[in-house]
């Protein structure tokens, strides 16, 4: 019954027309995750539009305006499962103006699927998507060289693209990159091995997705437990129960261990770790648990429980890589809310050190404002100290979002440097 499957979250990014929707359609179709009534609906819509083929992109483009314009506006989530794994696809549009959607999809992904049209090779968008995967520290990348059927399944074409990509990606921080030559349209090397490319002895895309090693994607070294909520039943059966509810952000916690609370610096010992009344021997990311301590100390939402010999740094001046996501530009000295883990504090944009041209990776200095979809290195100062790790060390305790004080919109994503 596949009850103990692992969960892999991946994003797909590609330019217009490089066959991303077709590839997703192929993965869903070949893994039997498309249902008859969905397929019938898509066939009917395709016929209504006068197409003589079934447009699988209609499966993913859910909103009326997307269907009308034939473009993907927002991140769409798709689900499929094989006997080995359950998959969540964050399908993000490829247009330049939608960097924010790519960043959104990438923020929770274990893996990025990057599509390259075999006829065109690396294009500007390939650079952009790869840079975002690297910026968001997606642990694994699979580069799919698509439309191999249109280049006569040429090994030379594939090798050249692999070589070009390796040269380009050496400037980025992605540790695990795999390459696969495919044709999403025909199905070569997607789920089934291609007979058209005997020279390729690597795995199919599906096999890569099913076997990529994701157990170490969470930080299991540096123990971090952001307190989300304090459970106090104050009932007859539990008059004194005081449990700290939250989701483990890193490392491993066990009953009996010494802990330190940040930012107060108080120390105590773990009494129990439990969930729903069931006691646990240990807890690790990303488990949601309830923790009780030996001593009654003052702990509230927003605090972080760590270890006395390994805890996050606590500061008010924070360096970020920032992606601005709102239509209204932001200027220096703008005040914003900063949300980090379960804590929200006020902050101000103190300095823009440089912004990045994400196609060429050139730094642009002397900048006093940022517009939508721009990425920059900035300094913020917060009203109260935050206890954080670098994003490189921990994607959970190293990330923030910025919120506009007037509109309450989420306006930026930040990765702590």
């Amino acid at each position: 019954m596949y009850i103990n499957n692992q969960l892999l979250r991946f994003t797909t990014a590609g330019s217009v027309d490089d066959g991303k929707s077709t590839l997703i359609g192929r993965l869903l179709y070949d893994s039997k995750s498309i249902f008859e009534d969905q397929l019938e609906a898509v066939e009917a819509s395709s016929a209504k539009k006068g197409f003589d083929y079934v447009d699988l992109s209609l499966l993913t483009d859910g909103l009326k305006s997307e269907r009308e314009q034939g473009i993907t506006i927002d991140v769409a989530y798709r689900y499929f499962a094989t006997p080995k794994r359950k998959f969540i696809i964050a399908d993000t549009p490829g247009h330049i103006q939608y960097t924010r959607n790519m960043v959104t999809g990438a923020s929770t992904a274990n893996l990025a699927l990057i599509l390259i049209d075999a006829r065109k090779g690396l294009v500007e968008q390939t650079h952009r998507h790869s840079f975002i995967a690297s910026l968001l520290k997606i642990p694994h990348v699979i580069v799919c060289v698509n439309k191999m059927d249109l280049v006569n399944y040429s090994e030379e074409v594939f090798d050249k693209i692999v070589e070009d990509y390796k040269a380009f990606s050496s400037k980025l921080e992605v540790s695990d990159i795999q390459f696969v030559p495919i044709s999403a349209l025909v199905g070569d090397n997607v789920v089934n091995r291609s007979e058209n490319m005997p020279w390729y002895d690597g795995a199919t895309l599906m096999h890569m997705l099913e076997t990529v090693h994701i157990e170490s994607d969470y930080n299991h070294i540096d123990s971090r437990f952001p307190v989300q909520y304090v459970i106090r039943p104050q009932s007859k059966e539990y008059p004194d129960f005081r449990g700290y509810a939250g989701r483990i952000g890193g490392g491993i916690f066990r009953p009996g261990e010494e802990i330190m609370v940040l930012p107060s610096g108080f120390t105590s010992k773990i009494k129990t770790i439990e969930l729903g009344g069931k006691l646990l021997d240990e807890a690790f990311a990303p488990m949601s648990v309830t923790m009780t301590l030996e001593d009654e100390i003052d702990i509230s939402r927003g605090d972080i429980i760590a270890k006395p010999n390994n805890h996050p740094q606590t500061e008010q001046d924070i360096d970020l890589m920032l992606c601005w996501m709102n239509q209204r530009p932001v200027n220096l000295n703008t005040k914003l809310y900063v949300r980090h883990n379960t804590k929200e504090v006020r902050g101000v944009l103190k300095e823009i050190q440089y912004k990045l041209d994400i196609s060429s990776l050139q730094r642009i200095e002397n900048v006093d404002h940022l517009t939508m979809n721009e990425i920059a290195r900035v300094k913020i100062r917060t009203a109260q100290p935050l206890s954080f790790d670098s994003y490189r060390k921990n994607r959970i305790t190293g990330s923030v979002i910025l919120i506009d004080e007037g509109t309450n919109e989420t306006v930026a994503a930040g990765m702590i440097v």
């Binding site: 929770t108 909520y229 969930l275 994503a413």
Partner: protein, 312 residues
């Protein structure tokens, strides 16, 4: 132990969660986040398996304290009796408060007008009752069991879905949602819909019910029932289903994949009378569960249109 030793001693492969445990952990995180960020949250309870799972996840999230928000049932008056029986049992079992918003009351007050015709349903009318109930009790976050795999418009939903003061959803102007940082800030009069099991599929829900041994209404299991077949749908007879000339009820062995209103929820012929058999059946099924729902079939964008106006 030094840091290095910990790393060396770890059998890394042992430190990962099964997909069900990871989905459970994510949902519990979201539910706790709702209670921490909002003043008056509520759980929208339909009696269906998704909202049942949500209620059980809520119990886990706050145990040993009681669930710190009420269940809200928008009662169309067209429920399966089995759903009502289960609802009352569950409320007692979880020790949680129940609030009922009545569509009949909205009709009596003239807030909505009952549909007429053969396929008349109170499905669309629920939206008004729901929004009235949210306003009456000043709920600022309403959690629901909707999943992104159910329907294409829902595939674009956020976990924290912002609604304006008219309860409307603006799909083109949604807040970006990154990592596990959920932004529940709002202005007076606005509220949020929150979907903790967004990332679950129908199969995940069944597997979870199975592994956690969660009791569910009898409707989901195979049973004999008086039905009619209309437009390829098997509909249960009920006081609210008007028979067309020539329609004669027959008895069939059926079960339900979803629990909506009696007149619009189609049954499937099935002999699955245990959770194991249901899971097998779901795995082999080539039709989506909402394929049995007449409310989604009204147009290609039926769900998006209803959601924009404030539906679940």
């Amino acid at each position: 132990m030094t840091k290095l030793n910990v790393a060396e001693n770890l059998n890394m492969s042992q430190y990962y969660l099964s997909h069900l445990k990871e989905l459970e952990s994510e949902a519990i995180f979201v539910i706790r986040e709702v209670v921490a960020q909002f003043e008056k949250p509520a759980l929208l309870f339909s009696g269906g398996k998704d909202s049942i799972v949500l209620a059980y996840l809520s119990r886990k999230a706050f145990y040993p304290a009681r669930i710190p928000f009420p269940l809200v049932h928008i009662d169309t008056g067209h429920n399966f009796p089995e759903t009502m029986e289960y609802r009352d049992w569950l409320v007692n079992e979880l020790g949680v408060k129940l609030i009922v918003g009545s569509v009949q009351e909205s009709i009596d007050k003239g807030r909505v007008k009952e549909e007429t015709g053969w396929n008349a349903s109170r499905n669309a009318l629920q939206t008004v009752t729901l929004l009235d109930t949210i306003e009456k009790y000043k709920f600022d976050a309403a959690m629901g069991g909707a999943r992104r795999d159910e329907e294409k418009a829902r595939a674009k939903e956020r976990f924290f879905s912002h609604r304006d003061e008219f309860g409307q959803w603006d799909p083109k102007n949604q807040r970006p949602e990154l990592w596990n940082l959920f932004n529940g800030r709002k202005h007076m009069g606005e509220h949020f819909r929150v979907f903790p099991i967004s990332n679950w599929t129908e199969m995940d829900v069944w597997q979870y019910i199975y592994t956690e041994q969660i009791p569910i209404p009898k409707l989901y299991f195979s049973h004999e029932r008086e039905v009619i077949v209309r437009d390829n749908a098997i509909l249960s007879t009920s006081p609210w289903l008007k028979l067309k000339p020539g329609e004669t009820p027959t008895r069939k062995i059926v079960r339900f994949r979803t629990c909506g209103d009696m007149p619009i929820t189609g049954a499937v012929e099935s002999t699955a009378d245990t959770l194991e058999k249901i899971i097998e059946e779901v795995a082999a099924s080539r039709k989506t569960e909402r394929g049995t729902r007449a409310d989604d079939k009204r147009s290609e964008t039926a769900m998006e249109d209803r959601k924009k106006s404030g539906y679940f």
